[in-house]
Amino acid sequence: MGDQDSSNLPVGIDYQSRSDAARAAVEEKNSRANSPVASTAGIYIHVPFCRAKCLYCDFYSLAERDDVVDRFVNCITEEIHGAAGQVRDRRFDTLYIGGGTPSLLTPGHLESIMNALQKVLGLNRIVEFTLEANPGEAPEEKLRAFRDLGVNRLSLGFQSFDAGLLKFLGRLHDPRDCSRTFEAARRAGFDNISVDILFNVPGQTLQCWQSDLAALVELGPEHISAYSLTVERGTPLDDMVAAGQVCMPAEEVDTALYAWTRQYLPGWGYHAYEISNYARNGRACRHNLHYWRGEPYLGFGPAAHGFDGTRRWWNVRDLDKYLKLIEGGDSPVAGGEELNIIQLRNEKLALGLRLSRGISVTVDLGYESVADFISKYEGQLESWADHLVLVGEQLSLTEQGTLLADTIAADLFLEGRKPALHRKRRPPAALL
């Protein structure tokens, strides 16, 4: 497979558990990969602070830790500096400050982080600079200051326009805060705003969702992320569902709301370019596209992940440990994995199928030709005839297929090694 965009990759943070030999092998492989154009890469900064924890949230974020925000910012800049010398190329074109609630940082904080980034990685090629903010927690002045620092895209966590649902979800804002913050952002000069919104919330009806979407379209953000609420393990919502205190909507409701979204938003000019993401022309999130296309990214902050095209590593998912490690001059990396060629290919497939444009079976999956791909997947292509389409060399999901994206991806996965079906057999001692 010659599809690993791994030559000239920004190589990430020093990843302790890798031997030099392994590294040499990867680099050798990378230099052999004959990809004509090296892909661009993203930078992600994780800000793990929130004013309060939402019921359903499994992002790594903490409430009531204002005491360490300054230390945290220092550590982030340290971590960025630590990456100096290990980054061979500076083709970063997106910067994403997520969380948590990054809008809780002061413009001063952001400035320090950006200074570090500018120095170590260079920000000259950044074309998309996103910052996440919550309604009611980002006054116009602050937004203007962020804007002046170069933030050119805001991602606002609305989640719902229904006061009851917002309350249930544990959000601190009310519906009016949504439009107020949105208007404030516009006034502050943001012409690229994304809004997050949730369906499949207990108690939510189709009508309720329809009016949410209508209200959203009325406001007119450039980008919408509409997620089906998922019960994540270990969240308070999970406990409540397990205890029978909350009942998640029936699958029919979930799929009906999804179907409505998929047909309604495009009618208003929002392309459904990913399973949960919709954008006006040219406003698809470039940063997230790096993830879905299997392109490299660097991550800074607790629980942040990095990827250089063949290996992925991640920082400790613990703010205090993160601070201690960095302050002690150590690497915050907690673990990592070297992806083999099959795992890389499987990831490309699973992620690529999430995109409406799908994935190229030759360039991305590495088949010699479309015919080669078809001959190897005849059975699957037939059984998923209603769910998968192959146009030219692009393989993508049909509308119906998007609902079963995971099942289908798993079905198309290659297996790296023989599954552990066989126990290790001893030689036939019994037969003398």
């Binding site: 699958e251 994206a405 995971d406 599954p419 066989h422 057999r425 019994a430 003398l432």
Partner: protein, 601 residues
Amino acid sequence: MADQLVRNFCIIAHIDHGKSTLADRFLELTHTLTTKEMQAQVLDDMDLERERGITIKAHPIRMVYRHTDGKDYVFNLIDTPGHVDFTYEVSRSLAACEGALLLVDAAQGVEAQTVSNAYLAIENDLQLVPVINKADLPNARVDDVKTQIVDLIGCEESDILITSAKTGQGVEAILEAIVEHIPPPGGDPDGDTRALVFDSTYDSFRGAVAYVRMVDGCLKKGLTAELFAHDRSYEIDEVGIFRMKRHPAERLTAGDVGYVIAGIKDVAYLEVGDTLTTADSRATQRLPGYKPIKPMVFTGLYPISSEDYELLRSSLDRLRLNDASLSYVPETSTALGFGFRCGFLGLLHMEIVQERLEREFDLNLITTPPNVEYEVVTDDGELIRVDSPADMPHAGAIRQIREPYVAAEIITPPDYLGGVMKLCQDKRGSYKNTHYLSPSKVQLRYELPLAEVIFDFFDRLKSVSRGYASYDYEFIGHRPGELKKLDILIAGEVVDTLSRIIHKNHTNAQGRALCKKLKEVIHRQQFEVVIQAATGSRIIARESVKPLRKNVTAKCYGGDITRKRKLLERQRAGKKRMKQLGRVEIPQEAFLSIMEVEHGD
């Protein structure tokens, strides 16, 4: 005359009465194995035997014993299994011996396989040496057990030896008794060569290995061996005797127990029970050999991946050399493809064969629900045998179905008599008689449908008797029964491997139980899956598995990718273990869990 200083004997008993442990003591006392080689139940050298703590294969071994008369005697011992499913191992071993130690656990007393194995030995004209084992146990009831043994074999109380294979108490006396009570082998070393093939095995380098009991004449390297069953001859490469492993010897002569390797590559030509002779001293009279064993349960055995069919066939051929009670013929199933219908002596036997095939031949197999063999009289008066429910004619074409019956012998302490009789009644048994072996042991006789005995009878019997009752059974013929074929339909199609024949009183309950179980194990598919149970054209139960509408991760960003890939990899691996039935995928466990329904209801 053959050598007067040879004794050929086996140890027989009910399961767990201590045969293999007693063999350990013999091997120690005769210094056959070094202390380093020694371990508990050393003759149970198959992994499966060690894991389960039971003997599965009869195991021959040779020892040299210096008797009180100062002479060295060659002992050829065969340790046999006690479980009822492996009786063919016992009966074949008996034919290689002149005597048998009948071992009885001092606490348990005479049990069902004590009785059946004692009878087998008597039928084979073997000299029985009765031994009470485990005399060290605090709850040993030596006197009572003596009464039971006297009642069983009609010996004198004074003939019964008392031992503890655990402590070694009384073991010397057994060795002495073997010399004194068990006759040396007869046979003529100078006569025409005749050797009984009592067992065999496959050696991947040297082909089939015949285990023989020399009756007359002699065998040695270089001679031309001939077998009666097939018109073939082979040059003998090696003969030898059994230590822990095969041990080459100069020659085998009348009375010896040993093995012969003669480059028999095609395993089909070596049959247990056949007589081996030589070209230069060719015998004309074949030895009696063995009655073919009648399989009791049948299942379909299919390779999980269809490319393994040929491997399964050759593995069965080879395993059969080492397990003469295994029978198989090719069969095809619409659900599972190409496989074999195999006959076994019982469910344990079936399980062991499957395990051995998987371990020794690196196969992955699926086993269909077991069943017994029926006789069906069709409308036009024809009698057919049906050992697979899939082959059962349509209900309209059947005049009568006959099912196999067995005479079962149950031995229990009298306290549990009531419970045992109720169980037999529930299992459609008809009472024959009762006999007291001693005040603490009753022998009950019932005639029962085999299908009722094979499945959960053992567990139920153990539970009604708090573990004290044991049973044995013997096939007595087919009898008409009110039986019906129960079909399972998945997505409207009969799954042939799930069909079964059951008593009409059980069809509804089983049909419902099967549908429910299947609903649990069939995961949601792209479409609704309807599961039905039917007898003839009548649907008697129905369940449905709702279609899978949605399986997609809502959020997937940088930090989620590894986790998501691993999740999908697991889903992918799970899919590998699925069987495709038409459009429906069924996990392999579904087939196995169906057996549980059968056991539990």
